[in-house]
């Protein structure tokens, strides 16, 4: 470390380095926002043909027919939103419950290993979820779960039609597993960030542990938990491979969980390298643009929520 003390020539070098160095780093860092703008711009530019041909009607039209060059994104937008909602309905309450257990209840020796196992769930590649979903979960849904649901709850619009196995239910379930680590991770951190004094104050008022969690800890952590759920939502909206493999890839709008569908990401994954005509390619690029816009919005909201929470109670790694 002695070399840190500079000789006169070194000092001159250092002076130059000190001038250049911050600007070099700023230049590298500037690449990140530039990339975001660049991605949006490129998709916007490349989808020009589709935007000029179909206009805003592209977003609401349900026709997706490459043979007659008619393209509408509504089935994909619908499929993306539907699978995301199914995934979050399962993953959000479950994830928050697990986060409560990990942050408040689990004995100290169990926290580390359990946390690692949850991280492991996040480390499983998407295509492996898809492989398992397609070859194991889908046949099980088709032969066991969906017929049972159809028999017992068949009158509800959610559980109608033939059990295909592939469809919104399979996609929603796989997505739920994949986004759980995000809900759990963020919620656990924000719950831990709630000051111990608040819990102690509740205990002093004769609150049970659950009272303290439900009435004191969770309200304090609410903004951060919503941030985590939004983050998970962003993931679910853009998740590609696993969904492509289990959703059935049919551009149809249906409110039944059993029906096959399609999502924005999966139509791109499935058809982009086979698209031949310029309009077809541009339509898929516009779908990419829509997906980019939605996830951008959701992620910005998620970060604002987490930031609002952590600004008050200290910094939190997500």
């Amino acid at each position: 470390m002695a070399t840190v003390i500079a000789s006169p020539t070194r000092a001159a070098h250092s002076a130059v380095a000190d001038q250049v160095f911050p600007w070099l780093l700023r230049g590298l860092a500037a690449l990140v926002p530039v990339l975001i703008v660049g991605i949006g711009f490129e998709l916007f530019r490349a989808s020009a043909l589709s935007r000029s041909t179909f206009g805003w009607h592209f977003l609401t039209s349900s026709t997706w027919d490459p043979s007659s060059e008619q393209y509408g994104a509504w089935p994909f937008i619908f499929g993306t939103l539907f699978t995301t909602v199914v995934a979050l309905v399962i993953a959000a309450p479950l994830g928050v419950a697990v986060a409560i257990f990990l942050a408040e209840l689990a004995p100290r020796w169990l926290r580390g290993p359990l946390g690692n196992v949850v991280d492991l769930l996040a480390a499983v590649p998407s295509v492996v979820f898809g492989l398992w979903g397609f070859l194991v979960l889908v046949p099980y849904l088709q032969n066991t779960v969906e017929p049972w649901l159809g028999d017992h709850f068949g009158r509800l619009p959610l559980f109608q039609g033939a059990p295909y196995g592939v469809g919104f239910l399979a996609a929603g379930l796989v997505l739920a597993m994949m986004v759980l680590p995000f809900v759990i991770g963020v919620s656990r951190e924000v719950i831990r960030a709630v000051p111990v004094a608040q819990r102690e104050a509740a205990y002093a008022l004769a609150a049970t542990r659950w009272d303290a969690i439900w009435d004191v800890v969770l309200p304090s952590a609410r903004s951060g938990i919503w941030g985590g759920i939004l983050l998970a939502m962003g993931r679910a909206l853009g998740e590609t491979m696993a969904v492509t493999m289990v959703i059935g890839n049919r551009p149809a709008v249906s409110t039944s969980l059993f029906a096959p569908g399609y999502t924005l990401a999966s139509v791109v994954a499935n058809e982009f390298s086979e698209a031949t005509t310029p309009t077809y390619i541009a339509a898929l690029l516009e779908i990419g643009l829509v997906l980019f816009g939605i996830t951008l919005l959701v992620n910005i909201l998620a970060r604002l929520f987490i930031w609002r929470m952590t600004r008050n109670v200290g910094r939190i790694a997500t």
Binding site: M1, V4, I5, S14, A17, P22, L25, R26, L28, A29, A30, V32, P33, L35, I36, G38, I39, E42, L43, A46, L94, A97, V98, I100, F101, A106, A123, P125, S126, V127, V128, L131, F134, L135, V136, M177, A202, L205, A207, T208, W210, D211, W214, D215, V216, L231, R235, G238, E239, M241, M245, A269, L285, G288, L291, F292, L296, N299, R303, A317
Partner: protein
Amino acid sequence: MSTRAALSLPGGPPRGRAHQRWRRVRNAFMLGLTGLCTLLVLVPLFLILYYVLRQGLPGLHWSFLLNPPKPVGETGGGMGNALVGTLELLGLAIVVGIPLGIGAGVYVAEFRNETFAHVVRFAADVLNGIPTIVTGMFIYGLVVVPQHHFSGWAGGLALAIILVPVVLRTTDEVLRTIPVSYREAALALGASRWNVTWRVVLRAAQPGLVSACLLGVSRIAGETAPLLFTALNNSFWSFKLNQPMASLTVQIYNFAIAPYDVWHALAWTGALTLILLVLTLNILARLWSRWRSPGRAA
């Protein structure tokens, strides 16, 4: 908050013993429920690992790791070319993405008073959340269209873009754990800002940075979507980055959706190989920072 608390906490009108018991029962029930939920979440994870092991392990031979796939109908064949392809793509992504990520991360951490540092950190988080298939489309327009063909270059660059925000954020986290006193001590000795960062902060942060990079690489190793129409795939050995390149993930996908049982078996073994690769990187990342930084837990 206060109104809710008043509803369930005592302090309002006195309530009977039955209410006390109800609160205790509810407490035990809800706490137990969170434990049950935790168990429930672990079930699919273990199911997936179980199936990948059961279906994938029988096929994991040297011939799987050393041979390219064979046409349908012929037995044997493997994913050797895909494994090499994945390593090549990761290599390119590392060479491009890690210097960028660490450089930008150093900026965000060491110049954290500048407004622009906050902008960049926020942008990195947002970039991290953009679907990787969209990144693939971006590179398609940027590299594949001008080149007129799919290539390993395009695939590696797409992975690099995904790697940058991950490395940036973890670098930021690691540098924040370096005590300010280190920087102050170096500055007091007359070191320039550049010297402080290069010789003191980065050196102290080195173990953490290595594990940050390993974690980032383990994340992109499992990516499929950005490779679909950048690196595409290749049924043969491909060592040139200028050609379409096979990767484990795309190969698993193609074999999984094909209607042949032989290919499904290969896909399972491929999945096992991929999970082992990702887990090795993950575990190395954790161990590295533990070995190399005695006394300071990462």
